[in-house]
Symmetry: C2
Subunit: 259 residues, 2 copies
């Protein structure tokens, strides 16, 4: 039987709030077994860019990563946020190691091809170096990913943290029994958006169809759930959606998704 591996993704809402981040890092350190952390970027990069007078370019509501934005992102995601999370985890007794996709060639990607929009230095993932990640994990080290990959030609690429989390989980599923945790602002998928506690505790493929038909899963939740099912269809054992409390041993109010 394969050993258990938890892949936990946190987003801007956790990273930007020092108290929440400290709370999360304590929970994460207490999480038993092999684990991987993936963190998004948050508003820090946008704030730094604005201080430096670098304007964020947007096309169809999506950010374009030009050369200057890439520098900012590399500094903030790969430097400030990643190293501080790693140092805090060390203080919590977790021997963490910060990784961009270039480090140890752990995430191979290519620059997104230009179709209607040139997204700039944005990476679409080709593969994960699961064997090296396994070497790190079996050495007792916990990988901490920032949202950067590379193209093998010398370029760092801005890469969606949700996608990194799912691709890492998929890649590691050949070696481990994986659980992918997506933390976000809500306690899970809600039956009634206005009721914070109306969490759908379990979603499988049938329930998913039902919730889609009832328009309970819609808007921003749609791509999130599509991403979850993509992971499950590629050998990830289980996906959990909820706030940072869900990784605690006694947590019960979050959404578990299986095929």
């Amino acid at each position: 039987m394969k050993e258990k591996l938890s892949i936990v993704k946190i987003g801007g809402n956790v990273i930007e709030n020092k108290t929440e981040l400290a709370k999360f890092l304590t929970f994460f350190s207490q999480l038993k077994g092999a684990k991987i952390l993936v963190h998004g970027g948050g508003k820090l990069a946008t704030q730094l860019a604005s201080k430096l007078g670098i304007e964020s370019q947007m096309v169809n509501g999506r950010r374009v990563t030009d050369a200057k934005s890439l520098e900012i992102i590399t500094m903030v995601y790969g430097g400030l946020t990643n190293k501080n999370i790693v140092a805090s985890l060390q203080a919590n007794g977790t021997n963490a190691i910060g990784l961009s996709g270039a480090d140890g060639n752990v995430i191979q990607a290519h620059k997104r091809p230009v179709k209607e929009v040139d997204f700039g230095f944005v990476g679409d993932i080709d593969g994960i170096n699961a064997d090296f990640l396994n070497t790190l994990i079996t050495s007792g080290v916990t990988p901490v990913f920032c949202a950067l990959s590379h193209d093998g030609e010398g370029n760092i690429l801005n890469t969606n943290a949700d996608t990194i989390a799912s691709e890492v989980a998929i890649g590691m599923s050949k070696l481990y029994n994986t659980t992918l945790y997506y933390s976000f602002e809500k306690k899970g998928v809600l039956m009634r958006i206005e009721d914070e506690d109306s969490v759908v505790k379990h979603i499988d493929s049938n329930k998913y169809k039902e919730l889609l038909e009832q328009k309970i899963i819609a808007d921003g939740m749609l791509p999130k759930l599509e991403n979850c099912f993509h992971a499950l269809q590629n050998n990830v054992g289980k996906v959990c959606l909820g706030n940072i409390e869900m990784i605690q041993p006694n947590a019960s109010l979050f959404t578990t998704i299986t095929l």
Copy 2:
């Protein structure tokens, strides 16, 4: 017999010059055997700080690292410079991994105690995690250090890159036959400062005393050479001083230092 390990340190003069850096990274990729790169910071951090209106505090000609400067340094050293060097090495066929001292707890340090001067978030090194570095190297991965350590209590610390290079070399000497390469602007220790090619090819303890008495080693070269002998007295096999050409197979014009 122990395997050979090369520890190469490059400074700002290489990092700030794109052509020199590209040239060096090609040489470094061609360097045979196990290897480790240590890079300093360069002026990028000072430039970014000045763009953001953060003034560098200096006491007795030495930089003080306050909280804001530490953020800048963490971004530039750990993010921008380190990740771009790693991505470039990947493009050169070297499977590099970027490390601050917090990553994998590879450099344990403490904040320099306040005596006459409070240097702020500056780290003095306590130890190196040689076993984990060895795990990386035996997995075929080349560690690339930026000039950051950590205190194990959640703080990143600004740490002199020359010292990181020598402490890493010392720490690895229990496992490897180490050679420490310090690259700088000159071709080596010069007999006549005005003659770029008057390189002293070999310095041992006796020659060192002689050069000190003749005041040929003075000023900025003094701490550099003290650092070299400190490394040699702590089991580092050999120290080489010169420009980036010295790591090429046919290089001859550089200074080799032994006990």
